[in-house]
Symmetry: C2
Subunit: 489 residues, 2 copies
Amino acid sequence: MAKEISTRSADYSQWYNDIVYKSGLADQSAVRGCMVIKPHGYALWENMRDILDRMFKDTGHVNAYFPLFVPKSLFEAEEKNAEGFAKECAIVTHYRLKADPTQKGKLMVDPEAKLDEELVVRPTSEAIIWNTYRDWIQSYRDLPILINQWANVVRWEMRTRPFLRTTEFLWQEGHTAHATSAEAIEEAEQMHEIYTRFAEDYMAIPVIKGYKTANERFAGADETYTIEAMMQDGKALQAGTSHFLGQNFAKAFNVKYLTDQNKEEFVWATSWGVSTRLIGALVMAHSDDDGLILPPKLAPQQVVIVPIPKPSEEIEIHANKLMESFRALGIRCFYDKDDKNRPGFKFAQHELKGVPVRIGIGARDLEQGVMEVARRDTKEKQSIPTDQVVDYVSKLLEEIQTNMFQKALDFRQAHSHTVDSWDEFVRILEEQPGFIYAHWDGTDETENKIKELTKATIRCIPLHTKEEIGKCILTGKESKRRVLFAKAY
Amino acid sequence: MAKEISTRSADYSQWYNDIVYKSGLADQSAVRGCMVIKPHGYALWENMRDILDRMFKDTGHVNAYFPLFVPKSLFEAEEKNAEGFAKECAIVTHYRLKADPTQKGKLMVDPEAKLDEELVVRPTSEAIIWNTYRDWIQSYRDLPILINQWANVVRWEMRTRPFLRTTEFLWQEGHTAHATSAEAIEEAEQMHEIYTRFAEDYMAIPVIKGYKTANERFAGADETYTIEAMMQDGKALQAGTSHFLGQNFAKAFNVKYLTDQNKEEFVWATSWGVSTRLIGALVMAHSDDDGLILPPKLAPQQVVIVPIPKPSEEIEIHANKLMESFRALGIRCFYDKDDKNRPGFKFAQHELKGVPVRIGIGARDLEQGVMEVARRDTKEKQSIPTDQVVDYVSKLLEEIQTNMFQKALDFRQAHSHTVDSWDEFVRILEEQPGFIYAHWDGTDETENKIKELTKATIRCIPLHTKEEIGKCILTGKESKRRVLFAKAY
């Protein structure tokens, strides 16, 4: 049988860790707060990366690669950004080890190999990139620059959880430079929209689009656009952000350009990123107590064929024929030819790993001209005539994708509340955790106070809500719009 | 006109840097020894990565990702490996910056945030990976493990050159675990063969396959297989290595498995890698005094269409039709619609960037039903009837690929020597740098002495040479086989 997994109702947090570790997505490592992304998890990331990369390229972006290290003097140049990240930076101070004279076979940091200037392991790359853009930009003809980078970054988080918050993580970070504020805002909005499409159409996770309060903005940004997803415990997860950086980095790094009127101006910037955190979102949004449920568009394998009760020549011929047809349609599939374990064990394994569709081929079924097709999301099974299996499965994969999105959307709707009083606000946060649309007076103080009292934060000022006069749930002061509150990862 | 490039004959080293920086492959950075890989260089790397990744997956490998940091105690566990890399390691000692009380707006390393154990930024990942494999391997059923990782690594090199030797570089590193020595050797040989095919069939660079002397082996390996390529100055460049690691890492990290006879044994290992250094090899092997020459199979863009003398509606219609046909054939192409620069300037730019084929479309040519097709490698031009252009270019791309390989092979043959006396050895190294096949007595001392006297090293013991009794060129002692000497990057 499959390795034991805690149930969501018994211990949601343990359930999450069990899924991540037991389904083969990741493993713990010897380095504090860092995980190993195992082949199953990495294959998922590759699929996500390839789709996003295509979306970026289709909108005119190109990839490049900037150094891992940021000299301290560059790191501190944009003050707000530096302040935001200084407390969680890995710092390289030396460049050599030497034999430890006091312990045979051991090494020690060579004190003579101390760097003149410390290097920060990038927590984000605005500083190193804008320091480079200064050399690349002279005139309006050099703009826009539309660059993305796939890279690892390091943030020394105190509390870590696999995928959701790790000291090192993989991500993409777009860094663009523009001649005008309007163009940069349009870019930030475009990437916001691309992240939304990716979350909804590929990850099958509905998101609330909005922008952050000043308090919650990226350090160094003038505006942060975000997409917020709901997990199965009702908490929010920030799934992607796109920042309009104004001229903050251009000013910090003195990046100017000559306009077509021959006037000198500072350049306008955006940055935007999503990370391996999205894998955590996928797990938390869709999985059940038996393991992962992966949306077909991202699943490393979409179909597994299991021989029943064990491999035979006849079954393998059928499996190979099926796989040839699936592959011609671009469907990722494999034949589980392991002959040491029984079907029940295999079923549980493939369920744990989240393969969207399982086809069972048994000698008796073959006599009757059918195969058993099981879908992972609802666990329904169906006997399908052999010659219709390819067509059926190919439609079923689409249906699973749609069904997963709809299920997550229904869940979110059932856990979203419009609230007008403080008591109700507190009660709902305790009894029915989810998204709360409520009025806020627009001040940092109130925002902080609500966080302190309830642990709920303003996830975003949603784009889809309309102006509406109301009263702040905490202070009773006037408010023009509801904002989205939730507890969050 | 194109930016000025030194000629190979005037200053080979400057020529190389000019090509790298002026063709847009890379840029210098604010971090000592680190470069920025610019979009053109990164697009080249993406093509190389995708092809290699396919070759790895087709031979049963999967990708994973391990932490960037290696705790010092793990780093030092395999002594030879640690010794080999200790002198060139970036070391993280602290995890926080704080405001510098003596300088407003500046940051300093927070002395209270010192790590209990220093972290080495990975120069290679055997240590962190084998420490993990211990948990993954119990019995022969868990073997083999065939994992590859695409990652950045850091080696604190004293002298750096873009792509060829940089403090940080991108690479792939395969790390496999096997039940038997024979299986591990077979794996190491298989990857050696894959690197050979990649170099010859895609990079159009002929290589000598061989294995390293004990002196030149990877630190921690029992055998290092290498492919050695010749650059246009006659120097060798190690283009890929595959290591049979024996049980060295298994013993250092105590990784044992139960055989099917229920006996406990240490696991056998390989590792293998190629890096962004290959981009340096591409530049040095093929380019000329006008810029890059890229093999069509790897070129980011294979065909550029240039309107002559400037863009027009008619020309664009032709260009679009051509591009549609090219793309249907999987040929990467673009239309240069810039209307600010003259054709001559554009030609030089595209030559500098190494686009394999240029098609000029001019109004006058169109009247006569022809287009001008120019190939980058030989710079030959040909008028081709419009309706034959797609077919002609598609064949031409193959011919350029073949021609580039042949040219590099001819060059290598013209610069390879079989030498039997010390005087001739020294004279050839000075007057006609290239590859020298000579006898060597098999000792470290002689190898070191030759290096000291001439700067030539034993690049490899080639697989293609036969046993042959002879006398060591330096000591006159008996030798059973010629080895390959050269000066090297």
